[in-house]
């Protein structure tokens, strides 16, 4: 079983129930997913939850092996099961016309998801959630964005609307690396990811994150917000550690 854990913090000034990212993982199988619902659509929180839950439960190997076609097949299947009115979510208190408008406009989210298995890390990214591979020797690699300046207000999004009738989105970007003992993988939603891309050359930050727990994570977020080092936004961080690997095949 892998050492895998996720932390989250709602935006400053909001309640925990207002947190609108999604995160899911399976320590046994090594599948993981982080999603960030976009404010431009209705039901984006529910869509983020649905995307991450679907990735872990469906284990879409083809989405990782063949992102150009396999990813859209998995998303289409996820769309079919998307029901923002389901009992899994809080009942809507919005007027019917708002709900109808939401259905028409669709929901949207960024996504970074993948699997760690047999000594290999594979991931796909749509938008600005980022993965950070921290090697035991200290080198830090980030994917898909490399610096704080790479982030903007219009990331690519995964839509709950069917492809028919709209322009297909670009396929997700793939990432694959062999892992070594002592490597640590982080997946962060955009606000934290933007700060972390600027910390790639600061080993103290990665040492701190490797040991952080719930309370320390909340304190870190509060410090970064208070110091205006990080955008005031919902924060999610997933961490996976490798003490050993099963093999490279």
């Amino acid at each position: 079983m892998m050492d895998m854990v996720a932390y989250w913090a709602p935006k400053q000034g909001t309640a925990f129930s207002d947190w609108e990212d999604g995160a899911a993982y399976n320590r046994c199988s090594g599948w993981f997913a982080v999603a960030d619902g976009a404010s431009t659509g209705i039901n984006s929180r529910e869509w983020a939850y649905t995307l991450t839950g679907s990735f872990i439960s469906n284990r879409p190997e083809r989405a990782l092996a063949d992102p150009a076609t396999g990813f859209e097949l998995w998303v289409e299947k996820t769309r079919e099961g998307f029901d923002p009115g389901s009992r899994d979510f809080l009942p809507s208190r919005t007027p019917l016309w708002v709900q109808a408008e939401g259905t028409k406009r669709g929901a949207h989210a960024t996504l970074l998801a993948g699997r760690i298995a047999a000594g290999t890390l594979r991931a796909i990214a749509v938008g600005d959630c980022c993965l950070f591979l921290v090697r035991a020797a200290g080198r830090v690699e980030s994917f898909p964005l490399a610096s704080p300046q790479d982030f903007d207000a219009h990331p690519q999004l995964v839509s709950s609307l069917p492809v028919q009738g709209r322009r297909p989105a670009s396929p997700p970007r793939p990432f694959e690396r062999d892992l070594e003992a002592g490597d640590v993988v982080y997946v962060a939603s955009d606000a934290l990811a933007q700060w972390l891309t600027g910390q790639r050359g600061n080993p103290a930050v990665w040492h701190m994150l490797s040991r952080i727990g719930n309370a320390g994570f909340r304190d870190l977020c509060a410090d970064l917000w208070d110091g205006k080092h990080m955008k005031n936004d919902d924060i999610t961080l997933l961490r996976a550690k490798f003490g050993s690997i099963e093999g490279r095949h």
Binding site: D18, I42, T94, V98
Partner: protein, 271 residues
């Protein structure tokens, strides 16, 4: 200045001043629709979009309060239906109480019809009591600003097709723009709706080149666009210089939609 994020703790406020004089029954910029019909449609669409922007999860969050004042022979609330006579309404209540749902055909697909909420109806009768409308807006916005000193300041959008018939509105407009919060002064933007198709003047930085004293008067009454709005305008492909005012003269339907979009771009909280 003008960077206070709008959220439930620090809500924003937008008021529409809508010319409902008899001349609003004339065609809009050479189209088949009247100015009154086009303006009511554009305002209803913007309100619908603002409601959607304030939706989070299972609720509409009161990030904004909205007001609509119509001015013809009188100046009064132009909300139709259950919200009539209300001056400022939290956006959750705006969402709950449209006057009615109207069935429209989709642009480009006339066989597909969709129900859309209506809050304001097209009206075109009487004079142009613009000064009275600005005065009425000021009477409740000064109280709103006093109660929301940490908030982004109020935004007032004035839509007209001609000169005020109840005196020079510039002094009362200047008083309106002196209403302040800690984040800045009230923003007033003006748009002149044209009957004939012509060349519009958009977001000027100076009155030089304005065709007549009426246009110059509207320019004087218009606030500069905030940095956030300037960025939004440029992202929309508009050419706006530093110091550009929220003012469009001789507008046509597309300029009306752009004006509504630019003039209501505020730092709305994302979550």
């Amino acid at each position: 200045m003008y960077d206070q994020q709008i959220n439930r703790g620090n809500p924003g406020c937008i008021v529409f001043l809508i010319d409902q004089s008899a001349s609003m029954n004339e065609p809009f910029a050479g189209t088949h629709r009247t100015k009154a019909t086009a303006l009511a449609g554009a305002v209803n669409q913007l309100i619908r979009n603002l409601v959607i922007q304030c939706q989070r999860g299972e609720e509409i969050r009161d990030y904004l309060e909205l007001g609509i004042i119509g001015y013809g022979s009188a100046a009064e609330s132009a909300f139709a239906g259950r919200l009539s006579s209300h001056q400022l309404v939290p956006i959750s209540a705006v969402a709950d109480y449209p006057a009615r749902m109207a069935t429209e055909s989709m642009p480009g697909n006339p066989d597909l019809r969709i129900d859309r909420p209506v809050w304001v109806d097209p009206v075109a009768r009487g004079a142009t009591r613009m000064t009275a409308a600005i005065d009425l807006a000021g009477s409740f916005l000064v109280n709103w600003a006093n109660a929301h000193q940490s908030s982004f300041p109020p935004i007032v959008l004035n839509f007209s097709d001609g000169q005020a018939t109840d005196g020079d509105p510039r002094p009362i407009a200047n008083q309106l723009r002196n209403i302040v919060t800690d984040d800045g002064s009230l923003l007033m933007f003006n748009i002149n709706l044209s009957s004939a198709a012509g060349v519009p003047i958009e977001y000027p930085s100076s009155p030089a080149g304005l065709p007549n004293p009426y246009a110059a008067g509207l320019f004087d009454m218009s606030s500069e666009l905030t940095p956030f709005m300037l960025t939004a305008a440029r992202e929309m492909g508009l050419t706006v210089a530093p110091g550009a005012r929220g003012f469009v003269y001789n507008a046509d339907p597309s300029r009306l939609s752009e004006f509504l979009d630019v003039g209501t771009r505020v730092p709305l909280t994302e979550h």
